[in-house]
Amino acid sequence: MHLGHLRLRDFRNFRRLDADFGPGFHVLLGRNAQGKTNLLEAVHLLATLRSFRGVGSAAMVRHGQPGWFVGGRVVATASHAIKLYWSKNERRLTLDDQPIRKLTDYLGTLRTVAFCTEDLQLIKGAGRGRRRFLDFLLTQTLPTYLPLLQNYTRAVRSRNALLKKRPIDEATLESFTHEMVKLGNEIMTRRRTLLPELGPRITAAHARIAPDGEELSVEYQPRVKEDFAAELHRMRDRERALGSTLLGPHRDELSLQLNHKPAADFASEGQKRTLAISLKLAQAEHLAATHGAPPILLIDDVMGELDAPRRQAFLPLLNQCTQGRGQVFMTCTEQNWPEELGEELQKWEVTDGELKR
């Protein structure tokens, strides 16, 4: 799978961009603040409909303009045209000029994995980021997962609304609890079956890039121990006092322990960075294994943060992704990209919102 064409209009600092890309390894060179990250952000947006910077659509409109457009042609077994437009009054997403009614009909058209500085939050931040990491993978590999997650979230929110009302409508609460438990159990099952595949990929990736003697353990920790309904019932009084749902997969944790201690609290900055990259490597490998073709890799500033041995560990994946019909986009500030990447780099110059070969 590769992105054959990218078109931007008023996206961040790109007024207009029309660029053709072949498969293979693309390096985006440029000084600071020229638009390298913005370009990767646009590609990731096409795949996931979200910014990897965690901001809303309005932030991506070029200053002073009404809206942005991001379009692309994805070349896989077939070729598809994606068009995405956003303005305050209008949002449009079309695939081959057909409007998309359900996200599940769209996701999977383009698959990307982004490596960026924000990834550090996966390790440092709250459990929410790590749940998102799991959910992203499940969404990209199971077509039924996204609606499941959306329905579960709606059940939790409905239940929270019921728990806040006085007097509590017991019969209605019971009806929504039943749905939430059913959907929640299904989510936990999906997450639980992902881990035996994903966990070893994370530890293997980590073992490749971390110095010897660092032991990583990855564990899915659902907050529900055995019986969702029964454990929920035990929280009855506290839930009513607080007016919210206190148990369920919306509170699950993906525990990362480095040398038997929680990484968020005890790992050094460098160790955290290594860990974050391991998670992303595992994500890319998992998608490649599941779909039989690697995702497009978007690597932002990450290589610069790594020393030579750690960069070496990146190579097998980069090679896998650039061989065949895969594609990698990597940003670099200076002309000192890692020598070991070989001669087949396709170099692009990014200057003030313009892209040149």
């Binding site: 409508d169 019969a171 749905e179």
Partner: protein, 201 residues
């Protein structure tokens, strides 16, 4: 809004009114309006009459909530229909969809929505008491609500509440795509779902 300002005021008003209709975006509204104001006036009069007559003559059946011209409606009075089975749906439009599938020949009951805590819809806002008022005489209640969270929760709720009164409550079998309302189900899916319905405890 395309070229709103360049339209004469009455046309703009018509565009505004048409744009309120479901499925009509600003562009279609403008196209329809421009077509109408250039049509022969007799033709437009006919359309206006048809609109008013339809709106005047159609009401909700006081018994079941279906769209009807007469009280009570044909579904409620036709004695070739099975008077012991009732199919519970969310909206009056769902009655038409189930009817089109041809798989059901009993009575209907329109709830007028589904329980939705996030939209402030409580059980009291639905026609549940009216359904309880009709219970004697029914052997089976088929719940044909949408399969989203709120539809399913409403089915759970009804199964509990009505089940206590000693009537068999069944629910459409899977086959309806999860998370969708009846409006998206085609006739074949709907009739399969009706055939394969299962009992709720």
């Amino acid at each position: 809004m395309p070229m709103m300002n360049s339209l004469p005021e009455p046309v703009a008003a018509l565009v505004g009114a048409l744009g309120q209709l479901p499925g009509i975006g600003p562009r279609s509204a403008e196209r329809l309006a421009l077509h109408l104001v250039q049509s022969e006036s007799g033709q437009v009069q006919q359309l206006a009459d048809a609109l008013l007559t339809a709106r005047d003559r159609i009401q909700l059946c006081e018994t079941c909530g279906a769209l009807t011209e007469h009280q009570p409606c044909a579904f409620c009075t036709d004695d070739r229909r099975d008077a012991a089975t009732v199919c519970v749906v969310e909206t009056a439009v769902d009655v038409i969809n189930v009817e089109k599938s041809g798989a059901f020949k009993g009575r209907y009951h329109v709830l007028g929505g589904k329980i939705s805590p996030l939209n402030g819809v409580d059980p009291e806002d639905l026609r549940i008491a009216e359904l309880e008022g009709r219970l004697t005489g029914f052997n089976e209640i088929i719940l044909a609500l949408g399969t989203d969270v709120e539809g399913d929760a409403t089915s759970n709720y009804l199964a509990q509440r009505l089940g206590k009164q000693g009537v068999t409550v069944t629910r459409l079998a899977h086959g309806l795509p999860a998370g969708s309302g009846l409006e998206y189900a085609d006739d074949l899916t709907l009739s399969r779902a009706l055939e394969g319905r299962r009992e709720l405890q």
